[in-house]
């Protein structure tokens, strides 16, 4: 696995907008962004309605993922290119889903929607939706080698790498959520003891593109993360840590990295688990 297999430039996407075997998919935190405008021929996946179980706090199951991709007109042998706002937070989250359910060829648009907009590239009106014929998509069973659960996190305290990718103010307990969201939440603030605070934003340039492999390697080395040890990344709900998982697992080729999608909204609500306050 290397950078060119999983990350494509805006120019590459521009050149493949009419390729029927390349499906561009927008996944945004603001699920209405697609309705305003989007990249021509892009389809939308709604991270809340499409990717989450409507009742339990969990993902859509394998059959649900198959039904979703079939309805979106995505075939098993299609190249899927994901992009979104917020520096690809939710596009990275969707990337991790596609890998979790075993999709062959999936890539991120480097810089996502922001880079596309800052380049002043074409966006079509929201009503301009492509017509893709339904497929019969077959997903694989979840690959739990890339998904961490709460017991894995508790067991990792003091032994494995825990990377908390939230902002320093969320890590220290000063904020409970990213600062563009209201803060009214009931769980305890803080972080998992022994976690290193390496905000997701350190992986990216201002325009949302990823830093070079060398810069990324230097970043984790400077933060004393021994990548030969198993690593679990977490944030608040697992989307920003999916971006860090993408960096470590996909760009840097570290196969022993998991994303903890329960993240702080689960861990910070558990009874009796250890919590630490303050900065690194």
């Amino acid at each position: 696995m290397s950078r060119s297999d999983v990350l494509v430039s805006a120019d590459w996407v521009q050149d493949h907008l009419d390729d029927p075997k390349v499906v561009v998919v927008e996944v945004d935190e603001d699920t209405a962004a697609y309705d305003k405008n989007h990249i021509r021929n892009a389809v939308r996946i709604d991270w809340k309605k499409d990717l989450q179980d409507p009742v339990r706090r969990d993902f859509v199951d394998q059959a649900g993922f198959e039904a979703l991709l079939s309805a979106k007109g995505i075939a098993n042998d299609d190249t899927v290119v994901l992009y979104g706002g917020n520096n690809n937070w939710f596009a990275s989250y969707a990337f991790w889903y596609f890998k979790l359910y075993g999709h062959g060829d999936v890539k991120l648009l480097d810089g996502g929607r922001k880079k596309w907009e800052l380049d002043s590239r074409e966006l079509v009106d929201g009503a301009n939706v492509p017509n893709r014929a339904a497929t019969e998509y077959k997903a694989q069973a979840q690959d739990t080698s890339i998904r961490a659960f709460r017991d894995d996190v508790v067991a990792a305290i003091g032994s494995k790498n825990l990377v908390d990718v939230r902002s320093p103010d969320e890590f220290s307990g000063r904020l409970l959520a990213p600062a563009h969201l209201p803060q009214e939440q009931s769980q305890r603030p803080g972080h998992v003891p022994t976690a290193r605070n390496i905000p997701w934003s350190k992986n990216a340039n201002d325009d949302g593109t990823f830093k070079s492999d060398d810069e990324l390697r230097d970043l984790y080395q400077a933060e004393n993360v021994d990548l030969s040890k198993d690593t679990i990344a977490y944030c608040r709900i697992g989307e920003r840590s999916a971006l860090t998982w993408f960096v470590l697992h996909q760009l840097l080729g570290q196969t022993n990295v998991k994303n903890y999608d329960g993240s702080w909204t689960e861990y910070g609500s558990l009874v009796g688990v250890p919590i630490e306050l303050g900065s690194n």
Partner: protein
């Protein structure tokens, strides 16, 4: 497009007294600009980012203290320093 509105987007349903709100608008020659605003903490570390609304507005729910706002629009980047307090609106008009 109408002119930029003062202040941030609608606040219906938010308990304003408990929030530390930093909001404002990004304009060029009095007209709203579509782009992004980043919130950086006192050490310059990224804390949050929002796209500007159709009327050029942005809003953050921060904590009391010193912050930097960084507007990113096609062809320009502009920084502004602010000090925010709980229960108050810190209004910032950014021109690019």
């Amino acid at each position: 497009m109408c002119g930029a509105k003062a202040g941030g987007p609608e606040l219906a349903g938010v308990d304003v007294a408990n929030e530390t709100i930093i909001q404002g608008s990004v304009t060029r020659d009095g007209e709203p600009v579509n782009g992004y605003v980043r919130l950086l903490d006192a050490s310059g570390e990224f804390t949050a980012e929002v796209p500007t609304s159709a009327t050029g507005q942005f809003r953050f729910f921060a904590a009391p203290g010193s912050w930097t706002l960084r507007a990113l629009v096609p062809g320009a980047t502009v920084d502004r320093s602010v000090v925010a307090q709980q229960g108050q609106f810190t209004e910032v008009a950014i021109t690019v």
